[in-house]
Amino acid sequence: MTGRLSTLQAAMVIARRDFTAILFSRSFFFFLLGPLFPLLVGGLAGGIGQRVQDHAGRPELGVAMSAKDVAAMTAAYQRLAPQLSNLPTLVSLGNGRESEAFDARAALSDKRLNLAAVVTGTPAAPILTGPQEQIARWQGPVGLIAAEAIAEKPSRFPDVALSPITTKTTADETRSRLVTAQLGQTVLFLLTMLLAGMVLSNLVEEKGNKIIEILAAAIPMDAVFLGKLFAMLAVSWVGITVWGLAGGAVWLSSGHSLADYPAPAVGWPAFLGLGVLYFSMGYLLLGSLFLAIGAMASTVREVQTLSMPVTMLQLLNFFFASFAMAQPGSAIELAAAIVPFSSPFTMLARAAQQPELWTHGLALGWQALCVALFVRAGATLFRRRVMKSGPAQGGSKGGLLKRAFAR
């Protein structure tokens, strides 16, 4: 004789089946390889960008003055270059002719040259010709070179004694934490979108296999939804563990360590722990919404139609959280932390920037409540809409929204 299953036990039956099925499927293999593709594409794009940059070379500043003035400007440039790292490359133009006769505009249009601006006139009264932004940027350096060129005696630069420190400055720390927060948000967004899409495909496949009615007859739909969500979550944890171990091994073997990088405000262990929790919540929130979509839709086309605006909205949530990240403690950050779908991103960024931990407990509780509500709503929609038969069945009758909310 069998015993009645609780909702959690029933969810476990579903989760165990889905977890095993996904883990031993081809799609999981490709899922594991997933991070290699952006790395590969990023590496290729970076390499190509570097080649383009090398090919383009540094923009040059042309000097078209009398031979004497060009010599003075070049000598001044060579004296200043070791002191100032951002001076433009100086090239001599006009074969020492008087600068009045030189056509700077024509030189700037000459495809054989790589000129960004041209300085004519004399060191005492230099004329800088070029695009507005460029000449505004080079006005200072050109003035410096010209001043050095007309100086009676070359400037003498005192030796600056260097006193390097190993700790990061406050400015460094703030910038690094911002980068960590941004990186965390991006990884979270990409992973949650990928997994929520996978759980939706899984449900659609199940509807196609006609298994869903057997599940719905045996256990509550809440349990089916929970089981599916947790199976995919467990699969993603396996994936993250594999990626973490493989990436960590490569990273450590190349001589890096976490200590080389400024710790997030809550510290690395807490940040990584919160990262896993916020990833889980972010995925459960989006996954439950996608399951509700799967519940409303009768066909794959309907699933695509419905999931597109949700994907766009989630992108907006991501941008909202990114925007809020730059304004810690503001009303905007609070709003982004309350909106369920932007909350995990916002709070992870907060963990990188702010040391308090209690706010994370509150946020995780709120997110868990939202997950429960979405799962329940999705299950209710499913029971209302999916298991109907008779003449009204099918995807073509009535609008999606009308069918979703009709009893």
């Binding site: 004789m1 009645r4 009615e213 057997i214 007859a217 256990i219 298991m387 109907k388 038969s389």
Partner: protein, 331 residues
């Protein structure tokens, strides 16, 4: 049987024998989809240990009724009580369900599929695996134990699902159109299995649009058409709604005896057809003998379930029922 039986149908609904405790009780179930009423006030009483048929054409509301009874969907109004519980999922571990649209995970092995269906009903997975293998062996499918569902024929996969429905020894088994898609041999096997379940005390309820299955198997039936149940009760009571049909052949074509024939008597060739009069056959026999009609043959036949269906649900529903059967045979 060419007579119009509708004239002799007794009025008023007849409910099933309620002496045995009820496995399923439904009162006034209503379900609407997008303004269409799929089920319109269905009442059912399924006694424990009985074989109960829900008989009706495609689109009559059979599947929706079963889904409401099982808690897959909720009725818009009405009451349902399954094995003494208002919430079907509370007793899901004692119910087996085979839906009309069969479905299994294609990558699962046959015995794992059975174990999984058992696990959904609370059977421990290891026990389910063991029983799954035993059941497959016992039903001549031992060679398929380790085969994936996608490697099985449609008929074999259907049998695997059927075994999965029964692996946890349910008290109540619900089949939705269980005979559809099965060949005659497997239909016979399934009928035998259903009888075997009932002999063990299991309640079996199934929907069908094939009257012959219901007539051969069921203790009670509910006739459903257009979402309504115009009759629910024992098969015999359904048949008794039509008076037995008399076929009389006489040597004489005419005589005073003809005045003794009932008003609905119809003459075809040398035969007379009419419903058995309420006064019985004796007064008519006396008139025939005294009138020297010369009785060549006389038969009194009890009405079949088909005639009862026509009389109860109407000609249109009967035609839809026959059409459904023909479509299935042609597939």
């Amino acid at each position: 049987m060419g007579s119009s039986a509708a004239t002799s149908v007794q009025d008023g609904p007849v409910q099933g024998s309620a002496e045995r405790p009820l496995a399923i009780e439904a009162r006034g179930l209503i379900k609407r989809f997008d303004g269409f009423t799929a089920v319109d006030g269905v009442d059912l009483s399924v006694p424990e240990g009985s074989i109960y048929g829900i008989l009706g054409p495609n689109g009559a509301g059979k599947t929706t009724t079963l889904r409401m009874l099982l808690g897959i969907i909720d009725p818009d109004s009405g009451l349902r009580r399954i094995l003494g519980h208002d919430r079907p999922h509370e007793v899901a571990h004692t119910i087996g369900y085979l839906p009309e649209e069969r479905g299994l995970y294609p990558s699962m092995k046959a015995y794992e599929a059975i174990a999984f269906m058992g696990a959904l009903r609370g059977l421990p997975l290891n026990e389910g695996r063991r029983k799954g293998k035993e059941l497959l062996e016992a039903h001549g499918l031992g060679y398929a134990i380790d085969r994936q569902i996608r490697q099985l024929s449609k008929g074999m996969a259907q049998q695997v699902q059927l075994l999965g429905t029964l692996v946890h020894d349910p008290r109540l088994v619900v089949f939705d159109e269980p005979f559809s898609g099965l060949d005659a041999l497997n239909q016979g096997k399934l009928e035998k299995m259903i009888r075997g379940l009932a002999e063990k005390g299991t309640t079996v309820i199934f929907s069908t649009h094939v009257i012959a299955h219901a007539e051969r198997l069921c203790d009670e039936v509910a006739i459903i058409a257009g979402g309504k149940v115009p009759f629910a009760g024992p098969v015999d009571v359904a048949r008794d709604r039509i008076r037995p049909q008399v076929r009389l052949e006489t040597r004489a074509q005419d005589g005073a005896w003809r005045a003794a024939l009932p008003q609905d008597a119809r003459h075809e060739g040398s035969f007379w057809y009419f419903s058995l009069p309420e006064t019985g056959i004796e007064p008519l026999l006396r008139a025939l003998i005294e009138g020297e009609a010369g009785i060549l043959s006389l038969s009194i036949e009890r009405a079949g379930l088909h005639d009862a269906f026509v009389a109860i649900a109407g000609e249109a529903a009967a035609r839809a029922l026959e059409l459904g059967g023909e479509e299935e045979r042609s597939q």
